[in-house]
């Protein structure tokens, strides 16, 4: 009984808080939305024109201005790996934006379902096909790129060191991503348990 009374006092305190009576006029919201959409269009222009242009120039520069063929292959794989990473990040942001832009979905979807979708998006970023392809391209690129960068100066020892460093980095990335995705999976499991409980 005391517990009930005490928590009621807290609830009363909570509801008594005076706010700033914040509100926005629909006209103002529409103006802001138009501005936001214009900003988004500008960003998309940059992403669709500037970024591919940069990637092509970067790939050309990396591939054709270094001499050993193995280094060229490695650097090209590196660019490919980074492209996978950017692509995956773009997909992740697009899905999240979709969920936000379709605000009526936010009203129709229960909080738990909405939260679960967010967790699933994050978990999938750390595992799945996109993740493995980007990992494979980046680390094989790093390995091949570092295989003969010094050309005549490259030694068996420097190649072994390169192999060890790249292997450690790759193993670390796999471990960290696995840990992160496991943590997110535990949160997803907890959310699902909440839906099913009682």
């Amino acid at each position: 009984m005391t517990t009930d009374n005490d928590s009621d006092v807290i609830r009363e305190l909570w509801q008594r808080q005076s706010g700033s009576s914040f509100s926005m006029e629909p006209d103002e919201i529409q103006r802001r939305l138009s501005r936001l959409q214009a900003d988004l269009r500008d960003v998309q222009m940059v992403v669709y024109i500037f970024c591919p242009g940069m990637a092509i120039w970067f790939a050309y520069w990396l591939t054709f201005t270094t001499q050993p063929i193995i280094t060229r292959a490695g650097l090209l794989l590196l660019v490919l790996g980074m492209s996978f990473w950017v692509g995956q990040f773009w997909l992740y942001s697009r899905d999240r934006q979709k969920a936000l832009v379709n605000s009526n979905v936010a009203g129709q979807t229960s909080c738990l379902e909405f939260y679960r979708a967010e967790l699933v998006r994050q978990r999938d970023f750390h595992r799945g096909g996109w993740f493995w392809w980007r990992l494979f391209a980046m680390y094989s690129g790093l390995f091949l790129g570092g295989w003969a960068p010094l050309d005549h100066q490259a030694t068996f020892r420097s190649r072994v060191i390169n192999l060890i460093v790249v292997s450690i980095l790759a193993a670390l990335t796999v471990w960290l991503s696995y840990r992160k995705s496991r943590k997110l999976q535990r949160q997803i499991d907890a959310v699902e348990a909440m839906e099913e409980a009682m």
């Binding site: 005391t2 517990t3 009930d4 005490d6 928590s7 006092v9 807290i10 609830r11 305190l13 909570w14 509801q15 808080q17 706010g19 700033s20 009576s21 914040f22 509100s23 926005m24 629909p26 919201i29 802001r32 939305l33 999240r96 969920a99 936000l100 832009v101 605000s103 009526n104 979905v105 936010a106 009203g107 129709q108 979807t109 229960s110 909080c111 738990l112 379902e113 909405f114 939260y115 967010e118 994050q122 949160q187 907890a190 959310v191 909440m194 839906e195 099913e196 409980a197 009682m198």
Partner: protein, 174 residues
């Protein structure tokens, strides 16, 4: 004036203050809080384009607000640095420093500050339960908004009551 505008105005009139409290429960900093509040209002106005009255206005408003708030904190980098807890973990976590202040307003402020700090440490699903509970919603209504079974919500509410009583009253009495 469109129906969408009408619903929005009605929602702000009836639940505007609750939306401010919710934004405060998710964002401690005034600027971040204002950003979140604006985001909620914009999403709310947009959402009324698809409001079909299959649920009550209150359920709709709270769902949109809570969903936008959760996305907002997940987008924020600060969340990644926090170790979000469950309600059960709160009992084990450190308690706030005691105060011997007797001034009621100061004490009220202090309780609210501590309450916000406590809420901001919770994981999103439980943060939703506690904020809706504080808005005086019952277990069935919270269940409808969050999608959590009412039985589970009722159990959580019981724990919340115990924690609030332990944290804010037993200490004062002692």
């Amino acid at each position: 004036m469109s129906e969408q505008d009408d619903w929005y105005r009605k929602a702000v009139n009836e639940h505007g203050a609750a939306l401010e409290r919710l934004a405060r429960a998710y964002e401690a900093g005034p600027e971040d809080r204002r950003d979140l509040l604006q985001e909620i209002h914009i999403a709310l106005w947009r959402s009324f384009n698809g409001f079909d009255e299959r649920c009550t206005l209150r359920t709709w408003v709270y769902r949109v607000a809570q969903n936008i708030a959760v996305t907002h904190i997940y987008r924020s980098r600060k969340t990644k640095k926090l170790n979000l807890l469950s309600i059960e973990d709160l009992e084990e976590s450190e308690r706030p420093a005691a105060t011997d202040s007797t001034a009621t307003t100061v004490e009220t402020q202090l309780i609210l500050v501590q309450l916000y700090a406590l809420i901001q440490r919770l994981n999103p699903a439980e943060r939703q339960i506690i904020t809706l509970y504080l808005e005086a919603l019952d277990a069935a209504s919270i269940g409808e908004i969050t999608g959590i079974s009412p039985g589970y919500v009722a159990t959580k509410i019981l724990r919340i009551k115990q924690i609030l009583a332990n944290r804010f009253f037993e200490r004062r009495q002692s």
